[in-house]
Symmetry: C2
Subunit: 203 residues, 2 copies
DNA sequence: TCCCTTAAGAGACGAACCGTCTCTAACGAC
DNA sequence: GTCGTTAGAGACGGTTCGTCTCTTAAGGGA
């Protein structure tokens, strides 16, 4: 009875311990098994401590994910070609999805009504950088790529992930890029050039 | 004490009563409020009767949806143009989503692990019919449209619905068709013609 | 027509979590 | 050293789960 100095954690250390516990719980039992009660027990703390920091389990799960992984925004791929860059982004998404598990993603979608739309805007931001570099290289004309075209590949991959519950095969990513994104970008570039030529390079 | 012949329902009548009750419950309280207990109470029956027929609330909700609405497969649009047909399909999807509510859709995605993939294959089937007719009219070359291109518009709309929680603005549908789908189909048709011309119409 | 199998209707039951609340004691600021 | 804050722990009433039991209406077969 004399042993065990029961150190009482605070601040960042406590928060990290809880987020680690939450992630372990996700790993062990999936999003369905992620109960506040379980996390508190695993982190050896009280429920109140968790409720004080996060509103609900969706909130907690999101925090745990962010605590575990960094954003792609910190590491936009730069392979030297538009094709390589876009594929790298899509592969990054597919890998993350595999790490998270469809379980978690779907659970979050269902519960996190207040899911910061910004959460998903990371990808468009990365795409913007990639497209900017491709334009500099002369690979594409910046105006040829509308915002909707720019987000199409990532949207399709996300759709695939959300709908199928399975890891997205790499072939699908390649298909999206080679069969749709690149042809579309090139076709629009060509249309633009032709239009400009027809109007006598007026602009 | 003499009143109320307590007719005991069976078979189809009972099933319909339960599904109606389930839909009313969805309507009233959303997917979150769809508990077996509530549905049983509303349908004035026992929980066991429900559990006997459906495995869980996702199953029940799906059945209620199907009981309420018919499939687009029974009514593939035929407007006379590829653009019109595709837009009609996308608008059909958007309308259904509005009727169901994002709540329900997300809940199902999260819980219905066994969601019959066939559930979503209705749209590709409709697209195949539409594209077949467009090919007959000479609007597109059938080979120019790969399966992935054919499903792209619907996938993007579904993605939009799943991600945003809001009704999809009609402008987005138009954008998808006019900015991506049609240009892509036409570009690939043109590429094919050029390639055929270059090889001296060898084939 | 009567009987007998089936399943509807109703609710009790223990289990799991919820979110709130309370209590004690460790911590850190001053 | 004092004192306000909050971690750690768990009790609490409430909801829903899914299973089980019990009675009795329904309806087909002999």
């Amino acid at each position: 009875m004399t042993g065990e100095a029961k150190a009482r954690r605070r601040g960042a250390a406590l928060e990290a311990a809880i987020l680690d516990a939450a992630w372990d719980e996700l790993d062990a039992s999936g999003y369905a098994g992620l109960t506040i009660e379980n996390v508190a027990a695993r982190a050896r703390t009280g429920k109140q401590v968790i409720y004080r920091r996060w509103q609900n389990r969706a909130d907690l799960a999101l925090a745990a994910m962010r605590h575990r992984y960094t954003s792609i925004a910190d590491d936009v791929p730069d392979t030297g070609s538009l094709r390589g860059d876009v594929l790298a982004v899509l592969r990054h998404m597919a890998r993350r999805f595999r790490e998270f598990g469809s379980d978690l993603v779907h659970g979050l979608m269902a519960e996190a009504h207040e899911l910061d739309p910004e959460t998903f805007e990371v990808i468009p931001d990365a795409m913007a950088i990639i497209l900017g570099r491709a334009a500099e290289r002369g690979e594409v004309s910046a105006e040829a790529v509308t915002p909707r075209i720019a987000r199409m590949p990532a949207d399709l991959v996300r759709h695939e992930m959300l709908l199928t519950d399975r890891p997205v095969p790499d072939g699908v990513l390649v298909e999206i890029v080679d069969e749709m994104f690149l042809p579309l970008v090139r076709a629009r570039g060509r249309d633009q050039r032709e239009k400009r030529a027809a109007t006598g390079a007026s602009r």
